[in-house]
């Protein structure tokens, strides 16, 4: 998992976020079964899981790097690449699907010029989908920057996208 010929180094030890991560690992007594909790915390602190960060975690929890990498790539929640400043998540669960969520998504793709799973080239927005956000009663739902919106239409997501990106309508 080492990227070709770069020397892998952990983030500088004086990084405050690393100390917070260390505290989480300590609270779990460096138990290998706490790996997923530790990855959750690491992503919360750093925004995404850098290869170097994964190696650092592997070392601290005394786990083979392959296992840490395997777990980090298995779960959809973990991201190994940086995300955009803003995020937009379209629910594609069944309740939203039958209420035309696909139309919302293709509208957003057209509007932003990116596909699902991508981040705009200026790093401003990541577009994602979710399996179900558990708010199916107000389907279709879209989350802009952690704020869930229900009963969405093409018009409302368009407006919401603009406010989210700080664009004057």
């Amino acid at each position: 998992m080492t990227p070709n010929n770069t020397v892998v180094q952990a983030p500088p030890a004086n990084d405050k976020r690393l100390r917070l991560l260390e505290a989480t690992m300590k609270r779990h007594q460096y138990r290998p079964d706490a790996l997923i909790e530790v990855l959750h915390r690491a992503q919360e602190l750093f925004g995404y899981l850098d290869i170097k960060l994964l190696l650092h975690i592997a070392q601290r929890l005394k786990l083979p790097p392959s296992q840490v990498y395997g777990v980090a790539t298995f779960y959809h929640f973990f991201s190994l690449a940086p995300k955009g400043v803003h995020s937009c998540v379209v629910c594609m669960g069944t309740a939203c699907y039958v209420k035309q969520a696909a139309q919302l998504l293709s509208f957003l793709e057209k509007e932003t010029g990116i596909q699902v799973g991508e981040t705009t080239s200026d790093g401003q927005l990541s577009l994602m989908t979710a399996r179900c956000l558990g708010a199916c009663g107000i389907a279709p739902t879209v989350v802009f920057d952690d704020q869930l919106e229900g009963h969405q239409t093409v018009e409302s997501v368009g407006e919401r996208l603009n406010t989210c990106l700080g664009v004057e309508a």
Binding site: D33, M92, A95, V98, G134, G137, I138, A139, T141
Partner: protein, 535 residues
């Protein structure tokens, strides 16, 4: 502490009016927290603080009409307001002091004598929308932890297992395995380290029963889990919650903290020899982790990959120890069964399916929301009676139950009774409670393709029939969707469904063909129309 002491310390004086505002789930997204704050401000401004109590409560059911606010007066008359905006709070408050209470004109009320409310039978949801889920006092005042007290002080473990067995409760996570039997298997294993696990991974897309229960009444799930631990001889529990449910996680954390503080978790609970600890584990977004063996792998910090059964978790589960795993709603049924007795529970529902089931009624239906109905009710009563059919006068065509493992039931079979066996006979399953209504504008081939894509994306890749089969099935369905399919493709589709169903390792692969098979069974003409014209 003793339970009566607990109760005394928690009972508060009743005020003349009680305004409850739903502050979870969909209503919270619709700004209900601001509604609640504005209500409080309006009450203070009208000098009514000593007469009116405002509380934030859990889900009231009719989520599609949120934010919902329920006003109750001392003579127990109730008004339910829907789609309440924060600026309407003053109007709600001023209507209280005028008699007879006029309903402010610009506010929308919702009649509560409609089938959506009257056909419900609330056991699991009895406290939802009534108590503040963040206050243990309110749960205790509503008979909370009485069942645990009774079990620990008056019943042996074996008696608890027996009571659950006699109630006829079956697992609400999908498969409907008899709960008492599962408990008995774990209880029978030699003493030593055992675990209890609550499956709150709620994978079914389009369904949110478990989210709602955890957000609206988390103590009920904790109490059920503790009773289970006592019954099977475990002292450690895990609740595995989806990462997508931050508020549910938050309410559970609060509940655990409060229970510890009141001595309801920890050592020597209710002065008995029973000790119990519980830890939360947060899922990281993999559908397959709802499968019990994958879920346990995930709790152990590994990739969530299923393994063959037997051995079942009851014999060899977490870290190789006997482990009981049940669904959120299954645990939520336990305390009422202990409090009111197995016979009471067994008197509700049908011969084979006892009690009630919570459904999330969504999709093309007017009254979308969360309902709890007695087993044996007909689909017609749910979709047409309670749900009021499709909006905009469209024709309801089918209802999908069981999510990616289930099937589509056509409207002409809506007389069917909702129970495990009848739904199975129709080629669907009870599932965990998703009930998605589809109307004439929904194409069934698209639906089949939608679910196949889901299974393809979520396949863990361990076994070939599922890993490769779901991809091939998806491609075949795409051909139908794009009108490129031939009769040979139809034959191939059916053959492949059979292979994937019978040779996959876990339930994900085994049930992945179900949406295809059930749409082929009832809507074959849509597949035929989707084929290329013969030349």
């Amino acid at each position: 502490m003793d339970l009566t002491q607990l109760k005394q310390s928690t009972s508060a004086a009743q005020k003349k009016y009680h305004i409850r505002c739903c502050t979870v789930g969909g209503c919270l997204s619709a700004n209900s927290a601001a509604v609640k704050e504005q209500l409080k401000t309006a009450i203070a401004a009208s000098n009514l603080t000593d007469q009116v109590q405002v509380s934030g409560v859990g889900c009231m059911g009719l989520c599609s009409q949120g934010p919902l606010v329920r006003v109750e007066t001392e003579n127990a008359t109730e008004v339910l307001y829907r789609q309440v905006q924060p600026e309407q709070s003053a109007a709600i408050v001023s209507s209280l002091t005028q008699s007879p209470h006029p309903e402010p004109v610009d506010l929308k009320t919702q009649p509560t004598d409609s089938p959506f409310f009257t056909r419900q039978h609330r056991i699991v949801l009895e406290n939802s929308g009534r108590i503040d889920p963040e206050k243990i006092e309110e749960y205790i005042a509503a008979s909370g932890y009485e069942a645990l007290h009774h079990c620990l002080r008056e019943m042996s473990s074996a008696e608890v297992v027996d009571e659950i067995t006699r109630s006829g409760l079956r697992g609400r996570g999908g498969a409907g395995y008899p709960t008492g039997l599962k408990w008995a298997t774990v209880a029978k294993m030699p003493p030593g380290q055992k675990y209890v696990v609550c499956n709150a991974d709620e994978g079914d897309p389009g369904a949110y029963m478990d989210r709602s229960v955890l957000e609206s009444d988390p103590h009920r799930v904790l109490e059920g889990l503790e009773i289970a631990a006592y019954a099977v001889g475990a002292n450690q529990g895990y609740i595995y919650v989806r990462g997508e449910y931050p508020l549910a996680i938050n309410h559970l954390q609060t509940a655990i903290r409060q229970a510890k503080r009141h001595g309801l978790l920890g050592s020597q609970i209710f002065d008995s020899p029973f000790d119990f600890r519980v830890d939360l584990r947060i899922g990281a977004g993999a559908f397959v982790c709802g499968e019990e063996t994958a879920l346990m792998a995930s709790i152990e910090g590994k990739r969530g990959i299923p393994r063959p059964r037997p051995p079942y978790p009851a014999e060899s589960g977490l870290w190789g120890r006997p482990t009981l795993i049940n669904n959120v709603e299954t645990y939520a049924n336990i305390a009422p069964i202990i409090r009111k007795g197995a016979d009471w529970f067994a008197s509700i529902g049908t011969e084979q399916s006892k009690g009630t089931k919570v459904f999330s009624l969504t999709g093309k239906v007017k009254n979308a929301g969360l309902i709890e109905v007695p087993m044996g009710i007909s689909l017609k009563e749910i979709v047409e009676g309670m749900g009021q059919g499709a909006p905009d006068g469209a024709q309801v065509k089918a209802v999908q139950t069981g999510g990616p493992s289930g099937g589509c039931i056509p409207a002409d079979a809506f007389d069917t009774s909702v129970d495990y066996e009848s739904l199975k006979a129709l080629g669907s399953i009870m599932g965990s409670g998703g009930m998605i209504v589809m109307d004439e504008h929904t194409h069934m081939v698209d639906v089949a393709q939608f679910f196949m894509q889901f299974c393809m994306d979520e396949s863990c890749g361990k076994c070939i029939p599922c890993r490769a089969g779901t991809v091939q099935l998806y491609q075949l369905l795409t051909k139908f969707k794009e009108h490129r399919a031939t009769p040979a493709d139809l034959e191939q589709l059916e053959m492949l469904c059979d292979v994937v169903q019978h040779t996959s390792l876990c339930g994900l692969g085994q049930s992945a063909p179900n949406p295809v098979l059930s749409t082929l069974r009832y809507f074959r003409d849509e597949y035929l129309v989707a084929m290329v014209e013969k030349t």
